[in-house]
Chain length 339, copies 2
Amino acid sequence: MSVSIKDVAAKAGVSLGTVSNVCNKPEMVAPATLKKVQKVIAELGFVPNASARTLRAGKTRVLGLVVPDISNPFFTDLSKGVSDAALAAGYVVILCNTDESSEKEDQYLDVLAGQKVQGILITPARDSQKKIAELANRGIGLTLVDRPAIGLEACSVAVDDAQGGALALNHLWELGHRKILLLTGADNIPQVGERERGMLSAINAVKKSERPTLHKIRIDQMSTASAADRLKAYVEEKGLDFTAIICGNDLVALGAIRSLRDLNYEVPHDVSVIGYDDIDFAASATVPLTSIAQPKYQLGFAAAQLVIEECESPDKHTHQRVQFQPKLIVRNSTSAPIK
Amino acid sequence: MSVSIKDVAAKAGVSLGTVSNVCNKPEMVAPATLKKVQKVIAELGFVPNASARTLRAGKTRVLGLVVPDISNPFFTDLSKGVSDAALAAGYVVILCNTDESSEKEDQYLDVLAGQKVQGILITPARDSQKKIAELANRGIGLTLVDRPAIGLEACSVAVDDAQGGALALNHLWELGHRKILLLTGADNIPQVGERERGMLSAINAVKKSERPTLHKIRIDQMSTASAADRLKAYVEEKGLDFTAIICGNDLVALGAIRSLRDLNYEVPHDVSVIGYDDIDFAASATVPLTSIAQPKYQLGFAAAQLVIEECESPDKHTHQRVQFQPKLIVRNSTSAPIK
DNA sequence: CTGAAAGCGCTTACAG
DNA sequence: CTGAAAGCGCTTACAG
């Protein structure tokens, strides 16, 4: 039914090996033979069977991309970078959306192992280091995305989160804010912890009398809805004991703005709000969002290039940590506090 | 390096065939043998090699998902539905982002053919019917997503676009709008054409003296940026010769609102704007967006189920067209026109 | 219920 | 430069 290398060989009057060489090592085939075989390949619409090739040569040219939430624009843009880099190198990527569940992550990791993917790009769920370590041992290339590769033999690609936290805090401080609320996820999420570390250093860098306070509230899900609910509950209980909010991401910031509006506060007049990620919509939001931009597409592109390099030449490859720098984008959601 | 069925057989003291049966037809293995072999499988961490299985059995359990733009939230949500349905059935999905380019689409289609995917879910680029037809002939399951399967032996899953167009038009008409602008993509995009057909029928359904006019302007890319540019240029040239805009999607609507604001017009006071897709951000936009909601996740889920059904039992399978109904979501971007 | 053997479609040394 | 042959790791009739 599907045309195989045998059909091509028969029609071209050459052996199987020669057809294979035409596909994979054309430089070692006589020009005339090459031309003849290529013509037959085109006529028959022959596409080599990847399974057979893999089985024999051990190369699938398939990558797995494991992300917690593909509808988060951060990961959407990242995945575009990954796909593009992959396609350019003749690779293909299997998308695995874990919904932050480490069971789903494990399930996917097994499937990927069975599919004999050559490399995996992963932003792991909270507590899943063991299964990942196994993978590295099975000879699957591994690159950690947006997470440090703690205790793991692997490449990692990330954005300098401490710097991002410092950027956010300094911006608010320079505007004159001294009572800042941090609305973000659990601090055992590495990025969250790192950013807080950056904020703390920034605070300690100013002289004591001018140091801002940083009060933290945690949300389980960094989504618009849970941020809105959580902040509303907080303000209804405690009142407005802050003049600015640093949010875990732009989705959270949108939720914060929504709940503040519900409570009849105005952004940035009553409260300044700063997001993180600078997603596409940040500029079109109710109040155009001040945010910390991360090079999402580049992050994905670089990560894919790293694993592919590891796949292609595992011996030459040495693990590396690539760190991109974040950038402050000032829009309308932040201003000086009212006196 | 990787553990194979041979290692399991040796350690368990049975033949290869028996190990295979334990994995695939456990009911035909004696309970004692079954238990013994399963124990060894667990100990060794054996995962069957998908390539070998495929090569022999012809089943990859891999699906290809080909979309024009994964960063469009419509396709993001859709892809989530696809992944979830796939995972539930033990399938995995390769993500192919074509950026609306039919070359990239062809390239991906070849790769997918080589990977011997069992099914393809595709929202084709404008002009690429032939390569797709080839696929169906190669025995690859095919489901058209959000496009009718014109002249193709295939399933399709779509939303009733004519109804969506009618919904939008009727909403504006009922508010009293009589001069409506349509800001959308080329009308050779099937959905665009269908929605226009729906609007036209809706117009013709009202009595002549009360019929609204519908003026159309086209944009190449249905993105926020190009919508903003195009509308701004139009209004600067012609002025505000309409009281409401129906947009090709929510991204376009956000762009329209942005450019109207730049020109110092207010939404909905001066102009009503209605979007399409009801993306997550619609509710958090500058002006919370009135939009036509499509069941995106369900669309993807249903599409995946269809191809999987086709893959599993090609004989029993009969092609079908599933059509979901859109829904009008009224928010703040539409109101009665000023007199 | 279990084992031995063929074969899926390629690639890769190895002769020639 | 080209061909013949082995073998990648499984599944699947077929004996027994």
